[in-house]
Subunit: 241 residues, 2 copies
Amino acid sequence: MASDSTGHIVKSFEQELNRLRALLTEMGGLVESEVALACQAVLQRDVDLAARVVESDPKVDAIEHEVEQFVIRLLALRQPMAQDLRLIVASLKMTGDLERIGDYAANVAKRSLVLEQFSLPFSLTGLAHMSRLVQEHLKMVIDAIGENDADKAVEVWRSDESVDEIYNALFRELITYMMEDPRNITPCTHLLFIAKNLERIGDHATNVAETVYYAVKGEPLQGIRPKGDASPYAVVRAARE
Amino acid sequence: MASDSTGHIVKSFEQELNRLRALLTEMGGLVESEVALACQAVLQRDVDLAARVVESDPKVDAIEHEVEQFVIRLLALRQPMAQDLRLIVASLKMTGDLERIGDYAANVAKRSLVLEQFSLPFSLTGLAHMSRLVQEHLKMVIDAIGENDADKAVEVWRSDESVDEIYNALFRELITYMMEDPRNITPCTHLLFIAKNLERIGDHATNVAETVYYAVKGEPLQGIRPKGDASPYAVVRAARE
């Protein structure tokens, strides 16, 4: 806190920091619901939900811009120090990650419109599981922002690996469906990108967790960050090879 | 410039801003060569180049961290205003985008190791074209950072659409190869993700262009940002359907 300021200043500066935190959690809540709607759109073949995601994306960009303007004003007028300064700088990083998460949700929604045109001869259990996990992590990290909770951030950070594991299994599964029947190739290609988008959303949630931790503790999250996406190395051979 | 400071302070503050710009262009140059090496690794089937990309990624993260520390110190000690403050805030956004570009290059490099294990019955002309364009835009936007050149930034911003067009054509082309022969499915899947990574790199170069413009002009780039990636909507039907 800006303890070198007068009581009155401190109070209104704290109000401004709370306003900043409120903007971040509002943005977080918005992308959280975008991700939820996008996943529903895919799993329940619901075109209307997809449209709602694509429509709401400009709102996310608007809040990101508002945060940037607010931060620049805070930096210019308040000359914050120490933890306040870290929170303000961190908020710029977090809005960047949240904005990307919104973009990935919009991309998932768009692809659900294609999937809707295909009958899939297989279930989407793996994808459903992955989307549940990613949404849990996203919710947790947004709570961590609002509550300034470094422990919650560490929890999210640790749990990203499980998402990567499901993604790797899903990647191989979808490739085998493509090999079984060329009619699966287009829908499975979009499902591959949908799964990749969810994996990226989990990854950005992990970035936010690292940023929250840094903002609260003033030091980077220790240890090597869990990196479980082995799919870039995945080799699946066709039966006839 | 911090005109309200004494001559001496201004001079050394300017030196610090130049140091910041130098860090950004150093980081930019590093990811630029990562992207170049990753594209070569794919197009020339060169495993050693791929390894070099993956190895150099921690260097990029290190510079990003250095920039953040430097920015926090500048904000705390200098209380910059106006354009200086915008440059400092913008540098945080730019390092975020540059770091992502480095990650995409590493992902391309990893996938080139898989491709190396397959003989491709088709040429990679489209991908080669796309990688040339993306590298041009990346080089241009990094120059724009170093030269504080808003016009160059606008040029990059405008040219992103051409990358998206090639990507869309490539997306459909690769899907047809998969349909022709299941043995193409695994390599083409990785090529799809490589192409997507290049498209994302172009997109992040466009983000950087927007940030450079804002930092120099103090207002957002006007007009709707070119958005040419229609591939999420792409439907390619198998012959037997």
